[in-house]
């Protein structure tokens, strides 16, 4: 039976996050000194408070000490956080997502015993996954949905040496790398692609943060030079890495990145709405002018439509059985939400900024940041073009 009521718990959690955003995060995010900084700075103290609110361990099951949030709840809160600051939202979301993946799904009980206590007790214990090697030539669609000649091996390798694995190689643009205390690292072994738990302090691991503002959240490059981890740090079986994350069907994952984009768009919309209700031109508040009123209407429509699609996809990722009973169409709903959301939010942010005239491009004002963040979101991951090609593959009935 269709029901769109949020649970009391969800409403309460959302209220808590909204308060936190209004009191702590937003004032930081829109301060001119933060906006004008050449490099993005993460407010670690504010992240600590977010951790206290349970946002870092949001998706971790309650049995293991987390909040056990569903994917839908996760998306609702990610949007709220991103309406405050997209970087903070991105970092917390990545850690929370990986927390559930690693501790609830991939680690052995022994591994959990070694890492979980630290993860729970240290508010600055973040997680990162060093998986893809970005230039891997996917060639999505170029081969007309026929498989590429051969699986491309990872260039990062791990070899067994006594009771240890020795990892060599590099991983570029790893999300959360600058703040993570534990990494899940994909590397090639004789048996195939395998995944390893690598603590930050592992010997032979070095890290350089990526400066500038060409990414959301925190991002860095990792170099493994004879990096050694105990044999017990292998995640799953040797050669099993490709299947570790493939638990959900393609395109049916949690549309978290879209929820963050939605938060960015909402921040831009709310700023423009406030401004348009105050600013007077020609003797009337500019929101009363058809030109501005309909522009804001367009912006709002994009946000609300995106949210409907995101929530649907998030709920679906919690309820795979709804595909089987035909309540939902048998489609990659998360990919659909992705294709829509990226360009829609980018357009929305640009329209919202336009309402501000010249102030819309000033670095000490938040609007240009919302536009830039929306652009980064649109082009993050494989980007919108890739998402569309994935969807096209699904329509052609091709399964990778």
């Amino acid at each position: 039976m269709v029901d769109l009521h949020l649970s009391a718990e969800q409403l309460e959690f959302r209220d808590g996050v909204r308060d936190f955003v209004a009191q702590e995060l937003k004032p930081f995010a829109v301060s001119p000194q933060h906006l004008e900084a050449a490099e993005r700075r993460l407010p670690m103290e504010i992240l600590d408070k977010a951790s206290d609110l349970g946002l870092r361990t949001l998706a971790l099951s309650e049995e293991l000490g987390g909040a056990g949030a569903s994917n839908l709840t996760f998306c609702i809160l990610a949007e709220e956080l991103a309406a405050g600051d997209a970087d903070v939202a991105t970092v917390l979301t990545e850690t929370a997502r990986l927390g559930q993946l690693l501790f609830d799904r991939l680690m052995t009980p022994a591994q959990r015993d070694r890492f979980l206590p630290q993860f729970l007790s240290d508010p600055r214990f973040h997680l990162a996954a060093a998986q893809s090697e970005s230039e891997a030539a996917l060639g999505l669609g170029i081969n007309y949905h026929r498989p590429l000649p051969a699986e491309v091996p990872l260039r990062t390798t791990a070899r067994r040496s006594g009771g240890e694995w020795v990892i060599n190689g590099e991983k570029k643009a790893v999300a959360n790398a600058p703040v993570a205390k534990l990494f899940a690292v994909w590397a090639q072994t004789p048996e195939g692609a395998s995944a390893f738990l690598v603590p930050r302090e592992a010997s032979g691991l070095s890290l350089s943060a990526r400066a500038g503002n060409s990414h959301l959240g925190a991002c860095g490059d990792l170099v493994f030079a004879d990096c050694r981890v105990p044999a017990a740090n292998l995640l799953g079986l040797e050669g099993s890495a490709p299947h570790l994350c493939a638990a959900e069907k393609a395109g049916r994952g949690n549309p978290l990145r879209q929820a963050i984009a939605l938060g960015i768009g909402r921040a831009a919309y709310e700023a423009a709405l406030d401004y348009a209700r105050l600013r007077v031109q020609g003797g009337r508040r500019i929101i009363e002018h058809q030109a501005i009123g309909t522009k804001l209407a367009d912006v709002l429509v994009r946000l609300e439509v995106a949210r409907a699609a995101i929530w649907q996809a998030a709920w679906a990722s919690d309820h795979a059985e709804a595909f089987a009973d035909r309540s939902l169409a048998d489609l990659p709903l998360a990919t659909i939400a992705e294709v829509y959301t990226g360009p829609a939010i980018y357009a929305a942010a640009k329209d919202a900024a336009e309402c501000f005239g010249a102030m819309g491009v000033m670095k000490d004002m938040p609007l240009q940041k919302y536009v830039h963040d929306a652009l980064l979101s649109l082009h993050s991951g494989g980007g919108n073009g890739e998402a569309k090609l994935r969807l096209a593959e699904a329509l052609a009935g091709y399964v990778r």
């Binding site: 005239g357 000490d364 082009h379």
Partner: protein
């Protein structure tokens, strides 16, 4: 009908292309990345360009300039902007006001201001209209409210006018030696009947530059705050008539529109070049990206829009050279806003789809392009143009 360029036009085009390639492009990205807005500017490139004639290109030959026609201006602007939109705009900002001097200044003013401008490679021009409360006010219907709009006051005291108030976002604000300044000389009537324009040198007593605005795009270009505290401007610097500062401005305002549209063509060219380079040099699945259908669709669209804009710009330049007044000068500017955004966004798409990182120069084109919407293509400007069309 004839689209051929004459020899002089081709020569200026070639000169601009060489200067853009050899001098502007090598410094463009580095300048863009400087954090402090006041430091993004570079006098060396201005001096080099000035020596080649770009700063004074539209000053009449009899005044020591080059007197290039509008078509040539468009060609030069396209070439310079292809290498860096903001540096190109710094030069064309001087053209804009050169046009205005020719159109509305009297002979005595020309004699006082044009020769020093021509002689000094670091003499830039600017103009000041916008104010903190919004010089762009009164742009929307329904009312022409005397309380809205410009507030900077100019009051006559003997042979001088005393100016008080602030201007913001003023182009070339921190680097120009001479400004065309719009002031309020009658605060009790609507803007159209209470505004007066002055020539204000940057060494005017009581005048100083405040903040330089930190923009996300066009970072080289200096938009600054101008502060007037009992600033004293000689009556001889009054342009035109008192309270008539907003009346017809001659060909200057024609060019106002055109320089931006031509600049946009240059940015689009740069975006096309970047996209094509990627398509030819990056491989996926063993084949160049350019062989992919989605590349073809995006790249074809980029070129199509770029060439449509270029065609329209050239037509308007020709109309300007014939001193024809038409809505096209305004329409082409609005159009340039749409095209530059679409083309640079597509360039970004192409880079993204191929896995290239944000931040390799294409994002600069996107950030620069976004200036257009705020400068030339917002709803108010669109409505103003349409209003004339629908009369």
């Amino acid at each position: 009908m004839d689209f051929s360029l004459n020899e002089e036009q081709r020569a200026w085009q070639a000169k601009a292309r060489k200067f853009a390639e050899e001098e502007i492009r090598p410094i463009s990205l580095a300048r863009d990345r400087i954090a402090l807005p006041r430091e993004t500017f570079d006098w060396e490139i201005i001096k080099k360009g000035s020596k080649l004639g770009f700063r004074t290109a539209v000053v009449a030959k009899e005044w020591g300039g080059h007197g290039i026609d509008f078509v040539t201006q468009v060609l030069v602007m396209e070439e310079l902007a292809k290498a860096d939109s903001a540096i190109a705009k710094t030069f064309s900002q001087c053209w804009k006001w050169s046009h205005l001097i020719a159109a509305v200044c009297n002979e005595e003013q020309k004699r006082r201001f044009v020769p020093p401008f021509v002689a000094d490679d670091t003499y830039l021009l600017g103009s000041g209209t916008t104010e903190p409360s919004g010089g762009s006010d009164n742009r929307m219907p329904p009312e022409d409210d005397p309380k809205a709009g410009l507030r900077i006051r100019a009051e006559r005291r003997g042979d001088e006018w005393i100016l008080n108030g602030d201007k913001v976002f003023i182009a070339n604000g921190s680097v120009a030696k001479l400004f065309f300044l719009q002031t309020r000389t009658d605060p009790n009537v609507p803007l159209s009947r209470g505004t007066t324009r002055f020539l204000v040198p940057s060494d005017t007593p009581g005048f100083r530059v405040g903040k330089v605005f930190n923009k996300s795009g066009w970072r080289f270009y200096q938009n600054a705050e101008l502060i007037f505290e009992d600033a004293r401007v000689p009556h001889a610097n009054l342009v035109g008539e008192v309270n008539r500062g907003r009346s017809s401005e001659g060909p200057g305002s024609l060019f106002n529109d055109l320089e931006l549209a031509a600049n946009a063509v240059g940015v689009c060219e740069a975006a096309c070049e970047a996209a094509l380079h990627l398509g030819q040099t990056r491989f996926e699945g063993g084949r160049p990206v350019k062989d992919q259908q989605i590349f073809e669709l995006k790249f074809g669209r980029m070129r199509m829009l770029t060439e449509a804009l270029r065609s329209y710009v050239l037509r308007v330049a020709w109309e300007c050279d014939r001193r024809m007044r038409s809505p096209h000068a305004a329409l082409v500017t609005i159009y340039s806003c749409e095209v530059i955004e679409a083309v640079t966004d597509l360039a970004m798409d192409i880079h993204d789809g191929a896995g290239a990182a944000v931040g390799e120069g294409v994002d600069k084109l996107v950030r620069d392009s976004f200036i257009w919407r705020h400068l030339a293509g917002d709803s108010v400007i669109r409505m103003r143009v349409a209003k004339r069309l629908a009369e």
